[in-house]
């Protein structure tokens, strides 16, 4: 049987990808950011997941205003790194576990979550930066990845509660898949940041750390936090954090916090990162 063993959450700041791709990882500015992932790189080598369900958002890359799916599950064979306007990140293609993806689609939609299915799209920094942070530079990602794109660009995104509940439905789907697979769920984006308007640059360490605590220890309460709290306190783009609730919903109520990292700044953003294992 397939099993969800752990969850990872991390910011997916595009400048982190640019720093890696342009050989700036050893600069003073970036060193502390990447140091926060040293443990994680070692940890994931030992964990050897077969599949990662990677929750992220597209940033006006694959989805323009033509079409804005709230939840879009990648079921196609593979996904390329997108050209976001300065050439694609030089990272490998992402290969999907198509059998598990279609199983999830069938199970989760039957469970009342109206997913959109995406077979063809390019994936932007939201998906590739977390992979780079966890696996470093490589010619091929060491596992399959099922992209789950969440709309957080057009307000309102799905509610925290909806995200948390979707995580639970994902877990049910994975656990009813016959093949023995070690599956992780990743939630990405955040932490506090605002990229627009006279309030750009907002960082709220108190909010972020409270979010980290609650996500680990009282996710039900965090799931009830309304969007207005995120956009007011964590910035208009900080609302990306609802995606972490999908990861958390897919785990046990009780989890072991293996790793936590928090750092300000990476470009305009507070970087947060958690590794949670099912108890």
């Amino acid at each position: 049987m397939a099993k969800i063993t752990a969850g990872v959450s991390t910011s997916h700041v595009p400048a982190i990808g640019a720093a890696l791709d342009n050989g700036k990882a050893n600069e003073e500015y970036w060193k502390p950011v990447f140091a926060g992932y040293d443990f994680s790189k070692q940890w994931i080598k030992e964990q050897k997941p077969d599949v990662i369900i990677l929750v992220y958002n597209d940033h006006a890359t694959a989805f323009s205003l033509d079409l804005i799916p709230t939840f879009a599950l990648g079921c196609g064979e593979k996904y390329k790194s997108a050209d976001e306007g300065w050439g694609p990140r030089p990272v490998p293609d992402v290969y999907c576990h198509q059998e598990l993806a279609s199983h999830i689609a069938q199970s989760v939609i039957t469970d009342n979550f109206d997913l959109t299915i995406v077979n063809t799209m390019d994936v932007d920094h939201g998906l590739t930066v977390p992979l780079s942070l966890m696996f470093g530079e490589t010619n091929a990602w060491p596992c399959k990845v099922i992209p789950l794109a969440v709309n957080v660009v057009l307000y309102p995104p799905p509610s925290g509660q909806r995200c948390y509940d979707l995580g639970k439905a994902l877990r049910k789907a994975v656990e009813s898949f016959d093949e023995d697979l070690n599956v992780q769920v990743w939630g990405t984006g955040g932490m506090s940041h605002q990229l627009q308007g006279p309030r750009a640059g907002l960082i709220n360490k108190e909010f972020d750390n409270d979010f980290l605590d609650k996500l680990v220890n009282d996710p039900e309460a965090q799931a009830r936090v309304p969007h207005i709290d995120y956009v007011r306190e964590a910035g208009s783009e900080g609302v990306e954090l609802v995606m972490w609730l999908i990861m958390r919903g897919a785990l046990n109520d009780e989890v072991t916090e293996k790793h936590r990292f928090y750092h300000v700044p990476a470009s305009n953003t507070a970087v947060g990162h958690l590794i949670l294992e099912n108890k």
Partner: protein
């Protein structure tokens, strides 16, 4: 009945909701078109002529020509779409964000290094409102 938009009292912030997406449809789709190199070239060669191919309002076009990002956002632009414009100009997110705050890029970068903009005094348009909510 009008929907409640509690985010309208957040200072210095435009929330890109469904109403803004309607108003900004064409300016965002114009910006999105700059993802393709040949469109970037045509835009750079004659910005006005390229903008005139899009059914945008004159105000929206002028805001683009002026690279007035706050104005573009007040007219329905979303920052992830508008990013295609400053990327075409070869400018970073941090540069663009700085222009929106009225700071120079070094000032803005220093603010971020110092821990970012503090939430204190920046959560409500009218701080007196804090008591009511």
């Amino acid at each position: 009945m009008a929907l409640d938009k509690p985010y309208s009292d957040i200072p210095g912030t435009t929330i890109f909701d469904a109403d803004m997406a309607r108003i900004g449809f064409h300016i965002n789709q114009f910006a999105m078109s700059l993802m393709q190199a040949e469109h970037r070239e045509r835009f750079k060669a004659d910005e006005r002529a390229y903008l005139d191919e899009w059914p945008m309002t004159e105000e929206q076009k002028q805001a683009v020509l002026d690279r007035d990002y706050n104005r573009m956002m007040s007219l329905g632009g979303n920052v992830y779409f508008l990013a295609k414009i400053f990327s075409t100009d070869g400018l970073s997110f941090q540069f663009a964000a700085a222009t929106m705050t009225g700071m120079t890029q070094p000032e803005y970068a220093q603010m971020m290094l110092d821990g970012g903009r503090s939430p204190e005094g920046n959560l409500y348009k009218n701080e007196e409102k804090q008591g009511e909510t």
